[in-house]
Symmetry: D2
Subunit: 252 residues, 4 copies
Amino acid sequence: MRILVSNDDGYNAAGIEALTEALRGLGDITVVAPETNCSGSSNSLTLNRPLSVRQASNGFFYVNGTPSDCVHIALTGLLDFRPDLVVSGINNGANLGDDTLYSGTVAAATEGYLFGIPSIAFSLVERGWKHLDNAARVARQVVEHHIAQPLDSKVLLNVNIPAVPSSQLAGTRVTRLGKRHPSEPVIKSATPYGEPVYWIGPVGNVFDAGANTDFAAIEENYVSVTPLRLDLTYHEQLDAVTRWAGPLCENP
Amino acid sequence: MRILVSNDDGYNAAGIEALTEALRGLGDITVVAPETNCSGSSNSLTLNRPLSVRQASNGFFYVNGTPSDCVHIALTGLLDFRPDLVVSGINNGANLGDDTLYSGTVAAATEGYLFGIPSIAFSLVERGWKHLDNAARVARQVVEHHIAQPLDSKVLLNVNIPAVPSSQLAGTRVTRLGKRHPSEPVIKSATPYGEPVYWIGPVGNVFDAGANTDFAAIEENYVSVTPLRLDLTYHEQLDAVTRWAGPLCENP
Amino acid sequence: MRILVSNDDGYNAAGIEALTEALRGLGDITVVAPETNCSGSSNSLTLNRPLSVRQASNGFFYVNGTPSDCVHIALTGLLDFRPDLVVSGINNGANLGDDTLYSGTVAAATEGYLFGIPSIAFSLVERGWKHLDNAARVARQVVEHHIAQPLDSKVLLNVNIPAVPSSQLAGTRVTRLGKRHPSEPVIKSATPYGEPVYWIGPVGNVFDAGANTDFAAIEENYVSVTPLRLDLTYHEQLDAVTRWAGPLCENP
Amino acid sequence: MRILVSNDDGYNAAGIEALTEALRGLGDITVVAPETNCSGSSNSLTLNRPLSVRQASNGFFYVNGTPSDCVHIALTGLLDFRPDLVVSGINNGANLGDDTLYSGTVAAATEGYLFGIPSIAFSLVERGWKHLDNAARVARQVVEHHIAQPLDSKVLLNVNIPAVPSSQLAGTRVTRLGKRHPSEPVIKSATPYGEPVYWIGPVGNVFDAGANTDFAAIEENYVSVTPLRLDLTYHEQLDAVTRWAGPLCENP
């Protein structure tokens, strides 16, 4: 079992160190992670410059690029083998609901999935690394279970772990993504030199936390496991859009 | 009709100028676009620094951030009104199949969609702006049709336009996204100072260009219109993953 | 007379447009300037990635790098000729006293000087482009004078122009650089997500504005012209440091 | 003795670790260094965004900015004390002759000097960290000597150390900066997607390596110590430029 590990908080984050440590003994582990924090980087790929790869004293490779860059170049030539599993994280904070679209942690796993490798993203729900040890233990359990009973098709799992001690964990639940309200307003500020600047506001409140959502699972102290797909076609809208587009189709 | 225009090639790209010009007369048009080329930026949001907004002599606003940043801050406080439509492009090159995941052009439209505004991404299939005038004409037709017959729900359209003269356009076709083979290998190179560097390789060849795909439509000189969804839950896998996760669920 | 023009505010700044317009007729003018604002970039050179050069609709070349990058690549291969003069600016704000060390405007001219080409940096003393027309007129006068009576050796001039109308300009004065007090304290702030951040504080107050300084000239509405050198050796300290280093020298 | 340590290769470079280790016992040591490699950054200051400061597991502070940013914010409010000495390095490669203008290592020391604190930049002449242990030993000697016999005025020393074992070191020599020929030509290349790009070429060959230069000292296996000044006024040109500017002065 060859495991490629990445994340979006950077190669020196506590989360990736804890994850790598927790996976010890389960296979050959290679870390290729961003040099700096890339939270919010989504599936961003660096196309206008080449990437540098260096190795830290602990053996981790780090790249001056995005999480997607890291896994992409690992899989397309940096590594001389094909991993059996890609894991990403443990992220410093939740990746629930619509957050998954913007998450670099999920993006690193997505890149593995798009190359046909089972991939799992792990996130610790609260920022600050509280109960990271428990999250690392859960991550190991999930990977052990995948080794014992491999997922039989292309699978991309988004795993969020409550920031609670082991004793308070209620169990694991397979969920769908919930939804948030739109983000909070942009925050207007100014530089010390008088120029206006704008900070992207915090995420919105939860809007859909129905019984089977990831939000609900976390709320009740369950580990949330959501299978993700990357086919963005809205198949259910195809007929309606085809009808709508009729006049356009006739008149090129 | 208030229309917000963005792109990922930057506010001074030929594509956004042609699009804005083509939409003239259809409503109040506001441009908020990235300062520099952001191809490949996906839904990346800038969270570690504030953004600056400036105005060019032609009235376009430009932001030192990503396409998602541009539309996000436009909708959360920069503009004092809510647009009725978000359009993005015209992109310099195709956004077909899996490319849509990485596209900043699609990401700008995605941001509008996530805020509940109908949104359309336009791409000219070949790089280099050949037949941009025709693409701009098609973009206007699509927007005019939306004005005449509004899409009745949250809709995000990914429109790719063949780089052909108007006379060679076969029509419009509503499609699903096709698929590509994985990317070409990473390209190893070196700096002039002897350090190794790695370029992300070009996209892979087309793998699934079935009859109803966007690839097929373009191949046959049709404008391709694909409705996109951003719910990443793989609903069809929920049962299988639930069965798989059984042992994990029992043992927290 | 072939003139290379650059700046640090970016190729689309009002200052470089006014300067280029003012120089019309004095020679062949080529603009190679940064794509984005690079204030404070000093002599920074980009060594970890290659640079892209593009051309705007007005003919200006722009580079995704620093002012020094722009002039450096222009002089080492981008241009197929050797300019007779490098001018930089007109900067949005003063470059007086110690500011010159950090200035990208001065750095662009420095790069020309280091390649053996007479070079002149122009700055408009107040931010906001007030009386830019007058500054452009002054810049033309200086260049005309250099054409009529060429400076007979390697010369790098730092020219600061008061933000006043032509009628209030007192004349031109050749000056030495004054000094400022150290900068204002760093400004502690926080991101909307709770992380502390630090803004570099504004420049300090003037400390040495003696009669022959650039600060004094500007205060009295004179154009300030300071010849700069880039030999950083502190020749006057060589003897003292040699004495001090005696014991080190004896004991390798 | 409170010593502030910075560099331009990044807080995790071998050179700053060796320097910090070598200084152990000589005083209270605080490291504030860039998060990533900033070679070539000169005195660049970050003015368009705030800076983040984080602490690595070894206690080093790192900043997502330039060497000048690091020392600047350390001295203007990040630290609650004023250091007695600023040291920078040990750099991965030489900072000789005109290189000093572009060096981030020298820039970090320059920032200390501008705030009135004796400052020393250390560079190991060949890239690759060969004989770093000897360079660290030399650095300690220099700092010890400064503690025993403090430099009696504002002093900024640029120290380059040959990459040789201790036994081959010839001694220490106080030098002036030599000069190089202009850089090698820009290197034209292309992205994998067909866009032209330009790499800044390597530095030029040595032009002035006269007997008392830093180049000559290094050539003969001496540690080179050069006192630097940051007053960029070309005092010796003031008269000539004043005569030249006569006509300009009369006609404002």
